[in-house]
Symmetry: C2
DNA sequence: ATGTCCGCTCTTGTATACAAGAAAAAGATT
DNA sequence: AATCTTTTTCTTGTATACAAGAGCGGACAT
């Protein structure tokens, strides 16, 4: 599914930085010093800079001329906006998936959901399984471009979404919402599946306050 | 609205390359030689490479390791997918815009439409005015993130969309569709505006064959 | 004439050297 | 003592030098 190890160093650096940001090693706002990164990865500044350019274009970091790179920091408003778009993209995936769903497709989805079930107790593991579940839906949409755009936005939201699952009962709720999404897809009801997925992803009401709270926690660390 | 002239050379190169690709100077599939570009822009290969990395991350070009950069070439299927996503994003903009539209907002939209009217005879000029019209709607959505994502996809579709307007009567049709979109927004009918914009953007039926035809024309040149 | 193998060239990928702006530190002035 | 100014240092931006893989062409064999 993913082109594993690129031959060039810049691509490797890019991927490792993505992970480091996703898992919170570099929190939003932290500075990314080129020389330090070069030392860390055992390469010169050149491939580091190329990786940073790509990450900036993807929106994960921000480069201000002559002032270096920092991990992108999203305001609560911007975060709300991003989740609103993500919700709509995923809803679109569901709508399309309902029309084109096949036996193998549903099997893949259910296997991803089973993986979620197995990791109910560990938020980080559940997070990974949850990502796979959503990506399965992206693929089921049958629209490859949509799938890659959704995955890219998913990546961009990683630093924040990961924390979301630490909220009390959120894992359990998420899991049962998955169930109902699967149900709508099995029934071939695209609009219901879309609505369910939209609500599943969207942050509104108390979930928004939860998000802002985790944001504060993240900035404190 | 846009941060005009960046201080660094790489950003300038990036912007110029974007335009060159948009206006067809580099057709999809053409090779982008680093040394040649360096000579053209009067800089070394370093800023050229940085610009290319960014363009690749944005999806406008493709870099294959050790084999150089080429302008991204989209298959008809992929192109259909991209327009499908674009249509949905713009529909979302319209839905949100209908809720938040103000007098100034509508005025901005109508002024953009007037600009379209003034350029009905010149496809290239109409194309620019049309882009402004759509961007006005992005902004009216009130969701800044959505607006920037839509603009980014718009940029990515430029090489193809520009040709679309050369199809017989397309400019006229496009213009009157704009009128009806404005009407729905004035009426505050989000769903109708969304549907109208979705159909306006989507390529289906004969418009898809038109697109494939212009694609072939583009590859021949 | 066609196909294959080997070497050459040309382009990309990485490292290093140098230039210039920004932050930080030291000094001067009130 | 505090603030403004100047100088120093540190980091980024760009250029150049070097290494290595990919493509091309010629020589050779069939």
């Amino acid at each position: 599914m993913k082109n594993a190890s690129q031959s060039n160093a810049a691509a490797k650096v890019r991927e490792e930085l993505e992970n480091a940001i996703a898992w919170g090693e570099f929190a939003p706002g932290s500075r990314l010093d080129e020389t330090a990164l070069a030392a860390r990865f055992g390469v010169s500044r050149t491939p580091i800079r190329e990786a940073l350019q790509q990450l900036a274009a993807a929106g994960l970091i921000e480069i201000r001329p002559r002032r270096g790179a920092t991990v992108a920091v999203a305001s609560p408003e911007r975060l709300y906006e991003m989740f609103e778009v993500m919700a709509e993209l995923e809803a679109m995936c569901a709508r399309l998936a309902a029309r084109r769903v096949s036996a193998e497709g549903l099997a893949a989805l259910q296997s991803a959901q089973a993986q979620c079930a197995r990791n109910r107790d560990d938020p980080d593991a559940y997070y990974a399984a949850n990502e796979a579940f959503h990506q399965a839906i992206y693929r089921l949409s049958g629209n490859g471009f949509l799938a890659s755009e959704a995955a890219s936005l998913q990546k961009r939201l990683r630093p924040y979404r990961r924390l979301q699952l630490r909220v009390r009962n959120r894992v359990q709720t998420s899991f049962s919402e998955h169930e109902s999404i699967i149900g709508h897809l099995e029934a071939g009801d695209g609009e219901a599946a879309a609505a369910a997925l939209r609500d599943h992803v969207r942050v509104q009401g108390e979930r928004f306050s939860d998000l802002v709270a985790s944001l504060a926690q993240l900035n404190a660390a």
